[in-house]
Structures are given as C-alpha cells and as structure tokens.
Amino acid sequence: MKLSVLLFAAAREIAGCESVELELPAAATVAQLRVALLHTFPTLAARTGILLCAVNNVYASDDRVLQASDVVACFPPVSGG
C-alpha cells in the first residue's frame, strides 16, 4: 500500500519536504514504516535523534498495524510551551 507520511520541525527540514510517500506491504507496522522512512532519508535518525510517530493524531507504538487510510506523521520530541 502507499502511505503518505507528514514530517515536522527538524525532520521536515532534514528531509527537505513536508510529506513523503512510502510504499509499504499491506498490514505493515509503524516499525516497518520507520525503517522505510530512514531508508529514504538516511540522515534523519542521526540528525534528529529519536523520532516519534503518530497515527490519526494519536502517538503510536511500533507494533501498531497501519491501514492505507491512516494519517501518519513522524517528528522529533515536542518542544512547545
């Protein structure tokens, strides 16, 4: 399935785009999405440290199974306030 991943803050700047389209197997997990993302942008992990993932506006753990309709975002730890 194709999934579009939204990127924010340092992750967005390092990737150079606000979102990226990834090709994933059906029923892929967040862990697999993470691997595919870092494969596309190898510098992302080294430069941003830990990356958080959210699915449909809620933080998601690595074993979360994805669907083609999910809104997925990856970003560094938050620093608002």
């Binding site: 340092a10 990356l51 998601a60 690595d62 560094p76 938050v78 306030g81």
Partner: protein, 165 residues
C-alpha cells in the same frame, strides 16, 4: 476552551472564561519568549505546529485534567508562527474550588502539554544561528499515565530508530 492560533493570545479573555461562582481559585500560567537562556541571546522564536493533532492533544489534555483534578473550568491557548521577545506562546488557566487544587492542576496541565502536544520551537539567536530546541527535562510532577502510548513507544522503539546499514 481550546485554541491553537497564529494571532497574539488574549490571556484576559481566556482567564475570564474559567471564572465561576463555583470556584474560589483561578491559576493562570503564561509561557513567554525569554531573551536569555544562559549566555545565548534569543532574537525571535519560530513555533511550528501539527495543527490537527495539536488541537486533538489539547482537547485530550482538557478531558484528562478534569478527570484527575477537582477543576471547574479549563482553558488552553497555544500560539504558533513567529514570536518576538516577550510574546505569549502558551496560556493555560484552571479554576477550582480551592487553591491547592488549582495550583496542582495548573502545574500538571502545563507540564503535560509541554511533553505531549506536537509543537516545536526553533531558536533564532541574536548572532544569526538557529536551533530546533530539545524538550526540557521535566521537573516536578511527571505525568506517568498521561501519554502512555507515547511513553511505551519511546522506550520500546529506541532500537528501531538506528538506520539500517
């Protein structure tokens, strides 16, 4: 009242919105843009938000503060975009029958907001350098159960973020 805005925050209206005859205490917190962090001099700040999730996360925070504390009303406003020195980045207000509860709820609210709401700030220093800020270490009350999925995620997933060779 939950608000994510690019306009200046009106803390007066926000505070009025939590006042109530049922509450004897109101606590308002304002986070403002500080000029100096140690010797580093800030010129301005850029706040980036993931607006849909930030709004949803603030709504969850409001529900959770009502569940955890004896509060009458809750209001949160977070600004994003370019902020100048002294500008208000966030305002959070709670009202409660008694002051101990109001202080505890207000403190928990802002601590948890800073840990969980997807907003990031980038420092623009007076010397021209820029830097995305890392989250502050949390002092005081730690919201163990506030974002359990995120906490689980953050500890379990560490091995996963090493890029594949």
């Amino acid at each position: 009242m939950i608000e994510l805005t690019q306009q200046p925050i009106d803390f007066s209206t926000l505070t009025e919105s939590v006042r109530s005859d049922q509450a004897g205490a109101v606590v308002l917190f304002l986070g403002t843009v500080r000029e100096f962090t140690g010797v580093a001099r800030t010129s301005w700040l850029e706040y980036e938000a993931f607006p849909e999730m930030a709004t949803a996360a603030m709504q969850r925070l409001e529900a959770e503060v009502r569940q955890r504390f004896n509060v009458v009303e809750v209001a949160i406003s977070h600004r994003y975009g370019r902020l100048e020195l002294g500008d208000i980045a966030v305002a959070a207000a709670v009202s409660s029958p008694h002051r101990a509860q109001a202080f505890e709820a207000g403190r928990w609210l802002i601590d948890t907001l800073k840990e969980s709401v997807p907003i990031w700030k980038k420092e623009h220093y007076a010397d021209g350098a820029t830097e995305w800020l890392h989250p502050e270490p949390v002092m005081g009350s730690r919201p163990e159960a506030a974002i359990p999925v995120a906490s689980t995620f953050m500890s379990e997933s560490s091995p996963e973020i090493v890029p594949e060779a």
